[in-house]
């Protein structure tokens, strides 16, 4: 089903590292560690995981609040972010190789020179010229690759610059509706900011647009002149959504938009997002940790654990056949509003140290069309048995 659909966002081997301190005290936090996934047009893609697993960082890296460390992000076929860590590492490796080769050839030459008296000087000279030629060729070959990488680095520098065309088609909704709205700005100023930044000065047009989006999210036009503190949590979140909608985005990154809200208000916001998605053919990347909402709202779900994606599947499939042990433990921890069920619920705990991958390195495997899991070869076999595929 998803194969015919257009990819709207593509992440390829994205890494996001944060470093602090210098020299010996330098600490590198590998927040996102080599993740790849695609989001198709019109779907809701869920990203779940415990706090600190890198799901928010992923969302922020996509919208370029951070410059990614490595990998590429494509939006509608265009590369929008590119990281240089891999290139830098390769350049460093190539330079080291050149140095080693130089050392080797120099040693050879000096050895040959030392033996000049023993042998025919003409032969030695020929040998030396040959060795020098070899070195020259080697350096040329490696330099060509280095230059290529440097060129790519330049390109990615250009790519990583702000691109207003992309910025308007991607928007973000934040978790905390209190912190994410400036208390000194009126609702109208908050919502219209996106238009003004994009160079629109026509006041009538701005007013019209502000009223349009406020109505879309279920607020009244006369709310526009009030300040955020006059609204309840759910209404504030609606303002946040209005602000995202005003530039007519295609992709919305919703970073835990409902976790700070009350139960009854959560349902209102989910319904609102659902309506908007249907009416405007929006694609939503939904970051959350409430699994029952994620199952209800998302088409496909990716489970993250310590900076890696451990499983991707459609939401029904993931809840029916969770494969990765972390996914299982996550699902078993969700309390449901059903006392009899709760009394029998068994929690599975996940202990990553039990899984040792010394020889058998794990990788993303498509175990079933559309169901990917991060596993080693042995585990893949046992998962297949679990699903009765063999």
């Amino acid at each position: 089903m998803t194969e015919n659909k257009e990819k709207i966002l593509e992440l390829k081997k994205v890494r996001q590292y944060f470093s602090s301190g210098f020299g010996k005290r330098r600490v590198v936090v590998k927040a996102v560690h080599n993740i790849s996934f695609d989001i198709y047009k019109g779907e809701v893609f869920g990203l779940v995981g415990e706090s600190g697993c890198g799901k928010t960082t992923t969302g922020r890296a996509i919208i370029k609040l951070y410059n990614i460390t490595d990998g590429d992000i494509y939006f509608k076929g265009h590369r929008i972010s590119s990281g240089n860590r891999g290139k830098n590492l390769e350049i460093r490796r190539l330079k080291k190789e050149i140095d080693e080769k130089k050392q080797e050839i120099n040693n050879l030459i000096s050895e040959l020179k030392g033996e000049e008296k023993k042998f025919d000087s003409e032969w030695v000279g020929k040998e030396i010229i040959e060795a020098e030629q070899e070195l020259k060729d080697f350096i040329e070959e490696k330099n060509a690759r280095i230059n290529e990488l440097l060129r790519e680095k330049k390109i990615s520098k250009r790519i990583n610059r702000r691109n207003p065309g992309i910025m308007t088609s991607m928007q973000m909704i934040f978790q905390d509706p209190i912190d994410s709205l400036n208390p000194r700005m009126t609702v109208k100023e908050i919502v219209s900011e996106g238009l003004i930044i994009n160079g629109i000065r026509d006041k009538k047009f701005i007013d019209k647009e502000v009223n349009r989006v406020l109505e879309l999210v279920g607020l009244l036009p006369d709310h526009a002149n009030r300040y955020p503190h006059e609204f309840s949590g759910g209404q504030r979140q609606r303002i946040g959504i209005a602000r995202a909608l005003i530039v007519n985005p295609e992709l919305i990154i919703a970073d835990e938009p409902i976790s700070a809200l009350d139960v009854s208000i959560q349902a209102q916001i989910i319904n609102l997002l659902n309506d908007l998605r249907k009416n405007f053919d929006l694609t939503i990347l939904f970051i959350a940790h409430n699994l029952s909402v994620v199952k209800f709202f998302c088409d496909r779900i990716a489970v993250m654990y310590y900076g890696r994606i451990v499983e991707i599947a459609t939401s029904d499939e993931l809840f029916k056949h969770p494969l990765h042990p972390y996914t299982k433990s996550l699902l078993s921890a969700v309390p449901l509003p059903d006392p009899d069920y709760e009394k029998t619920r068994q929690r599975i705990s996940y202990n990553p140290s039990l899984r040792k991958f010394t020889a058998d390195k794990p990788k993303m495997v498509e175990i079933y069309p559309g169901h990917f899991v991060y596993a080693s070869q042995n585990e893949v076999k046992s998962y297949r048995k679990e699903l009765n595929l063999e």
Partner: protein, 348 residues
Amino acid sequence: MILPDDVILRVENLTISFKTPAGLVRAVRGVDFDLKRGETLCIVGESGSGKSVTSRAVMGILAGNAIIDDGHIYYRDIDLSQVKEQDFHKIRGSMIGMIFQDPLSSLNPIMKIGRQITEALILKNKMSKKAAKVRALELMREVGIPEPEKRYYQYPFHFSGGMRQRIVIAIALAMNPEILICDEPTTALDVTIQAQILELINKLKKDRGLSIIFITHDLGVVANMADRIAVMYAGKIVEYGKAEEVFYDSRHPYTWALLESMPALEQAKGQLNAIPGTPPNMLFPPKGDAFAPRNRYAMKIDFEEEPPFFKVTDTHYAAAWLLHPDAPHIESPIKGKYFISKGAKSND
């Protein structure tokens, strides 16, 4: 007032208002409940429904602008609503303990964990430092903190969210209270950590015979923890009963709406039944049933007169006019399609 043997705490017609520049906010408007010995009573409701205020009144830590207009809180032979602040410290902590929502802000960031746990033991029990340390290490082991000897000398920021909440529980238990009030103890935590903390609270309840008042808005957590449930809305209890009764045979439209607004596990994609509107402004408490404007089953009388409690069973009461013998019979919208354990699918 002498309480029956099995009741440890009784709240009667508790009414609390807050003085604000805009006027009196009627946060709690006549709440009655009993806490039985060794049970967990869950108070469920939206923010602003008065559930936290009620528990704070029991603990005697209401804000300075709060007034207890009416009502009594009986604990043993004491009326807690009449106890003066200078005497309350004998009860607070040693008989009633409390855990708060955010474990980071309830710990002192510049004080070592060990000192925070032993503080009450040294001040109140007049223990020596050495004896208090032994006791603190015991407590830390009891709440499941690995390597307590090492952790004893660490600061709160060394701990993860779940571990911090364990520390807070250890502090609350240091004086061996009989009643533990948990005010949304897991809202700030992840699902996996939340499950661990809930397991810990259940274990402590069993081991120590604690009576627990558990405040939350997450119905999943309620189903896990509760023996009895009180549903609060706009400063009043609208339904109370045993956990099974309130979940499987709920009678108040607000309880239905709460359950409906959570996606059930087998629910098809589409719209959720959200509760329209927002809770009422308690500066101007509404006439009649406070939930009526948001209630799709509201009748004329709901807007005019407050419903009394109607008895469903001996342990289950609900304040809804729908239960009046003259009211039209309305089938609960969640019956038969919501609960997995009750064969949700087969009933469709």
